[in-house]
Symmetry: C2
Subunit: 106 residues, 2 copies
Amino acid sequence: MKPKNIRDALPDTLEIETFEDILRVPGVRIERIVSKGQASPEQGWYDQDEHEWVMVVAGKAAIEFADGSHCTMSAGDYLNIPARCRHRVSWTDPGDVTIWLAVFYT
Amino acid sequence: MKPKNIRDALPDTLEIETFEDILRVPGVRIERIVSKGQASPEQGWYDQDEHEWVMVVAGKAAIEFADGSHCTMSAGDYLNIPARCRHRVSWTDPGDVTIWLAVFYT
């Protein structure tokens, strides 16, 4: 069994945010998200059926919640975002790659 | 909503390996494991009911499998270990803290 690395095979272009499944089984999905300077559109709120546990592996980002609160996240920071908790990524570092690890579960 | 950090509140003593739940819901458990130089006992094979997706967040470690194969892991390396795949941690770096993030799922 040979490990893969979360920093491997970064997308050729970082002009768009990329979402890749690392693992997908019924009820659980582990995803790598790679951002560089992107943010959700002003009206692009996530309103998810699944719960999401998310950690920033590298980089920096900010998340906004529908109640107007914000939080900033850097390497090692994690959050558990319940299903239906509306949120958007309001900022990611334009100067460096941000790698997110997200565990979606039902 | 305020993030926590995977490197926060490391155990006072690193003489024993520590296992802490970050999230526990039916069917999914996210755990932080902190090691420093520990290894599973020679006869201490994990033979788990759950599948385990595991990533080394910081540090270095080696895993041995029942078929005699080994792998080494460092920051960002991840593996998916199916249920019943017998394995043991054969080494963790004695000179630095190893932080593992493990997602157990059924």
